[in-house]
């Protein structure tokens, strides 16, 4: 049977071309930012108080304020894009965005695909249980229970005793939870959602950032924080590989922001405490 294949191929090809606008080539990040006049920052607005969307669809949070300030000191506008966390940490951003101010811990594995030019604050990692739980009265008592964590987070690495923080001056820590039955979730808040169903219904505990846990408790989740922080994780600005000048500029700016008290003020605004030291 004969069919006019050429014409249909031409139609398919033309429609494929019409759909291909965003063609762009990766160049020097700093040049791109300066010539565009704006710095594009990736953020994951599912993590209040670091980053979230308010009713007017504006980005708010500590990370947002820090990113905005970096752009201001660079003399450019800030723009936000919202790829998923997996896509950000996969590296090879192809110039789609210039930096991530996303409370990212510089681990060894991540440092293979991303650069971490500047640490801007430290978050304590907390163990959270349902408020009716009495069995887990210390961090160590959570050993052997089922614990929820966000997938590919430092908390998951910690429970697997495989957390290697790749940053100068990172505080040391010990693995205090062993043999946990680790349940991974798309994000930390989903784990908290499962924990709120009841003590032991799906989870016995969750390991997440202290500010995230406190945000959930403030929003009415029936949870409580157990013991002292598991570890302090340094959180860094991340950039794509390949532009040292851009990294140096960010490092300088964050150093200034540490020195002149800007970061401390922002930390107190969003966390009620100075987490930048």
């Amino acid at each position: 049977m004969y069919v006019p294949f050429r014409r249909s191929l031409a139609v398919a090809f033309a429609s494929a071309l019409a759909l291909a606008p965003g063609l762009a080539a990766a160049g020097e990040t700093l040049d791109r930012v300066m010539s565009r006049g704006s710095l594009i920052m990736s953020t994951d607005p599912e993590y209040p108080p670091q980053s979230s969307l308010n009713a007017e669809n504006e980005f708010i949070g500590f990370d947002i304020d820090v990113g905005t300030e970096i752009a201001r000191r660079m003399g450019v506008e800030i723009e936000f894009v919202t790829p998923s966390w997996d896509v950000i940490t996969a590296g090879n951003w192809s110039g789609r965005w210039d930096m991530s101010v996303g409370s990212m811990t510089p681990t060894k594995a991540r440092a293979e695909v991303l650069n971490f030019p500047a640490i801007y604050y430290y978050t304590p990692a907390a163990l959270v249980v349902h408020e009716e739980n009495t069995a887990i009265d210390s961090v160590e008592a959570a050993s052997g229970t089922s614990i929820g964590v966000g997938v590919a987070t430092t908390y998951e690495n910690y429970l697997n005793a495989a957390l290697e923080i790749d940053a100068v001056g990172a505080p040391s820590f010990e693995y205090r939870v062993s043999d946990a039955d680790i349940r991974t979730y798309d994000t930390d808040t989903l784990a908290l959602d499962d924990l709120r169903l009841g003590d032991g219904v799906r989870l016995d505990a969750v390991v997440t950032a202290l500010p995230t846990a406190m945000g959930a408790i403030e929003a009415g989740y029936p949870l409580k924080i157990v013991g002292d922080p598991l570890f302090l994780e340094p959180l860094s600005v991340a950039t794509d590989k390949g532009d040292e000048a851009f990294d140096t500029r960010i490092a300088e700016i964050v150093k200034e922001m540490h020195a002149d008290g800007t970061l401390t003020a922002l930390s107190e605004k969003w966390y009620g405490a100075d987490l930048t030291q």
Binding site: M1, S8, G22, S52
Partner: protein
């Protein structure tokens, strides 16, 4: 002569006893008892009420039965949501953004973006499917090879993986798409592959005699396809294609991983930002459902249009 025994009257009760028993069984896991009434008594009462309801509805005319069934199920649904104790103020506040009444970075968002992605992908996937189906049926070995490879790959791998391959994989060879074009391309290619098979089946279902007759009156092969085969095939192709479009509408939620501000992304992000996930997910579900219903209606209209001139008994 042996008289056939009249069926005893109690036989007619059997289905109702069965309904009652089924209702009671379904209610067993639920704690429906109040302060005064023991749970079992409450269950029996509820099961009796359900049985009575089923009997009453069965007495109505056919069309009314359908309407009553819908109304009752919708009421049950609302009761189910109401039992969650949701924050309606929050839903109301975020509803305009979820629907897409507004712009994000100068482009559509929410339900409007979902619809936009789907409509462009519907047009593109239809063209791709037509091309792939014709190639698959051609006598050119290379065309058949390319078409079967394409159909096999895109039907054989998960859509989520295809989305990520196009978004993260292609930039490795220098082709960088932003989130929305990547989403449209992935959806078009994936659904184009499924629909190519539907198109092929539709074309092949037209009897060979039709082509022979067309050839006999002197039409060339292109004309036969355009004027004789495709117009008849369309009637067969439309119902399963409508199905695919409804599935695509919901699968478009997968592109939320790229951070395109479509309906699912916003529902998830708003919900998690304020720790009110259930509110946003239910709202998104209702918006998806409403969109699907309008797709169904459009499909029904198109079916009627192409069904003209064909008597369906």
């Amino acid at each position: 002569m042996i008289q056939p025994a009249a069926a005893p009257a109690w036989r007619g009760l059997i289905p109702w006893v069965a309904v009652f028993a089924a209702a009671l069984l379904l209610l067993l896991p639920f704690d429906v008892g109040g302060e005064q009434t023991p749970a079992m008594l409450a269950r029996i009462g509820l099961a009796a009420a359900i049985t009575l309801n089923v009997w009453l509805v069965s007495q109505l005319p056919f069309r009314t039965q359908i309407a009553v069934a819908w109304l009752q199920l919708v009421a049950l649904f609302l009761l189910f949501f109401w039992s969650f104790g949701l924050s309606y103020a929050f839903i109301w506040e975020r509803l305009p953004s979820l629907l897409g009444l507004g712009l994000n970075r100068g482009f559509l968002m929410g339900g409007a973006l979902t619809l936009f992605i789907c409509i462009v992908a519907i047009v593109a996937s239809t063209l791709i499917a037509l091309g792939a189906a014709l190639a698959r049926l051609s006598s050119n070995g290379l065309a058949v090879g390319i078409a079967t490879f394409y159909i096999s790959f895109f039907r054989g791998t998960p859509l989520l993986l295809q989305i990520l391959l196009i978004y993260i994989g292609l930039p490795q060879i220098g082709i960088v798409f932003s989130a929305i074009p990547a989403a449209i391309i992935a959806l078009s290619l994936c659904y184009g592959a499924y629909m190519a098979e539907i198109f092929r089946a539709g074309i092949q279902a037209i009897p060979e005699g039709q082509r022979e007759a067309a050839r006999a009156v002197g039409l060339n092969e292109g004309q036969i396809m355009r004027l004789v085969v495709l117009p008849q095939a369309i009637r067969l192709i439309i119902p399963p294609t409508g199905n695919q479009f409804i599935a695509m509408l919901k699968d478009s939620s997968l592109v939320s991983v790229l951070g395109a501000w479509e309906l699912m992304y916003l529902a998830r992000t708003y919900g998690r930002s304020e720790f009110k996930a259930m509110e946003m997910l239910i709202t998104a579900a209702l918006i998806y459902w409403a969109l699907s219903i309008s797709f169904e209606r459009i499909q029904a209209r198109i079916e009627r249009h192409y069904g003209k001139g064909v008597r369906v008994d």
